[in-house]
Symmetry: C2
Subunit: 107 residues, 2 copies
């Protein structure tokens, strides 16, 4: 695959509102699937499938701990993604809301 094609595929991954929001969230801290489901208000299988695409595209990695799977960004090798992340609004509020509902998920 050509270099342009590879970059186009990465941008296609980020060209989806839900996936771009997930990446913005993970830019604040690693999160487990159920936390992302909570924040994005969509179904667990939907998020699970988005995470697989992001993983296949090399943008995130997973770490299983207990019954939870935590995802984190692996975009250090792609400087243009850092620039995109700078443009995205802070997700701190959403992350903090999670902490306030600790008994709901992943606590």
């Amino acid at each position: 695959m050509s270099q342009i094609e590879e970059i186009a595929d990465v941008l296609k991954l980020l060209g989806d509102k839900n996936r771009l929001t997930i990446v913005a969230l993970l830019n604040e801290k690693e999160l487990c699937v159920c936390e992302i489901v909570d924040i994005l208000h969509t179904s667990q299988p939907n998020i699970s499938q988005h995470m697989r695409k992001l993983k296949d595209g090399g943008l995130v990695k997973e770490a299983k701990r207990g019954q939870w799977v935590y995802y984190s960004l692996t975009v250090q090798d792609k400087p243009y993604i850092a620039e995109i992340l700078k443009q995205l609004p802070s997700q701190k509020v959403k992350i903090n809301q999670l902490v306030c509902e600790e008994n709901e998920c992943c606590s």
Copy 2:
């Protein structure tokens, strides 16, 4: 539309091999439709439709001169696109090949 949604839409535009190549080409110099058709080896309507999407997304502008329509980039307001352009391989060779076949198109 949210800020994340707007950026996702731009990235979706760039997340197509043909459109990303067009943007890389226009980063070298403005081009008319028939030149882009020549370089990308696809049909004129196909390119025309990609150009409309890029225009609707605010990434290019058009300038009609004679029977030709020249397109150029309008991405000054989006710094993250500059960073993406830096990662793309140079299109100078393709542009120069165009010049060598001057009697074919847009000459």
